[in-house]
Symmetry: C2
DNA sequence: CGCGACGTTGATTTGCCTCAACGATTGTGG
DNA sequence: CCACAATCGTTGAGGCAAATCAACGTCGCG
């Protein structure tokens, strides 16, 4: 039962009493996930908050031609979800699955709501978490609007150096918003230069 | 002194005691902004939280060719800022200015930090605010990755019908990520169809 | 009135996509 | 443990969505 990663992440922002921590822990469900296993499917309601403790997950949408578009990768220490579905309890647009064999902790949405009422200190942790995520999304969106593909790739490498080594190239291509073929050609040209 | 818009927005999520509300209000600074007036400039630290009560603001980045790329519009009831700069107190990548004559309320970052410690209930309001913003950014990013420009325009119209009437077309073009020329051509074609 | 911002239209270019084919891995069932 | 399938990265030819550049008419505003 490995809650330590999550608990110490929380402890960086707030300090919980012993009993608050125990109250929290009872809602934490660890789970092992096989590569390619689906945790959320488009159309379902996102009823769990997912925290990654091992391996790597991804969230992605499928367009009308059947192509996947990766929104996020979640290595250990990251949360992942379809925020809109989670908040409104409406059908999700995103799918979530495992890029490799992984381990997660999940919290059910009703438990999460109860938890925040019972342990209001957690509001602070999740506020900070949300603001950090927001900061990342803002800059990513700007990158998408203002940079050519090759520089978006460069930024990805800077931001997630560890992922570059483990992820298949086509996943990275999908994240930065180009086809795998085009990414391959870009990289070959970049080497020649 | 018009704090009512903000206070009632907050009241939708939490209920403050009389004295908490008064404590909050002392940090709220109203301000009138002229069209095109800059509130944040790239390279500065984003040291204020900005809440719009009238008119409309925008945040945008400028690329190396001098082109502007709009990240966000903020009509009344919206917050706007460079989240990364605000959190880390580092230089901003974004500029913020007024699309038309506007009115805002701002809170200084140090006051904001103090406020959250003194009135922890506000953590909840800002958590919810952040999660909603996150939900919007997630879906926008997915739209950008998976939809052609004409459908991104359609989505923009559905999401912000009031803005369509007031904003110059070139601002909308910038937001959805195309040139003004191309948006103009798209719209003409769409009418013919 | 005259200037500057905006929308439009056309000609041309380009960044990126599509489709197709191929070799190299990986992995999986017999 | 091998054979076959699936997945991945690569390369090339051709195509398309969107950008660039340039010119022009309109409008609102100082």
């Amino acid at each position: 039962m490995d809650h330590t990663l999550l608990l110490s992440a929380i402890a960086k922002h707030i300090s919980l009493e012993k009993e608050e921590e125990e109250y929290l822990i009872q809602f934490l469900h660890p789970k092992k996930i096989k590569k390619k296993q689906l945790l959320l499917e488009e159309g379902e309601v996102n009823s769990k908050l997912i925290y990654v403790t091992g391996g790597c997950l991804r969230s992605y949408a499928v367009d009308k031609n059947g192509f996947e578009h990766v929104l996020q990768f979640a290595p250990p220490g990251w949360w992942i979800g379809d925020m809109h579905s989670q908040l409104e309890q409406l059908p999700a647009r995103l799918n979530i699955d495992a890029v490799e064999d992984s381990e997660i902790i999940f919290i059910l949405k009703p438990d999460f709501d109860a938890l925040l009422l019972k342990v209001p200190k957690l509001e602070r942790y999740f506020r900070i978490l949300g603001q950090n995520a927001l900061a990342a999304y803002q800059y990513r969106q700007i990158d998408h609007l203002s940079l050519p593909a090759i520089e978006r790739y460069g930024n990805f490498c800077k931001m997630y150096p560890s992922l570059i080594r483990t992820l298949p190239q086509k996943q990275v291509a999908s994240y930065i918003g180009v086809t795998p073929e085009f990414l391959s050609k870009m990289l070959n040209n970049a080497i020649v230069k």
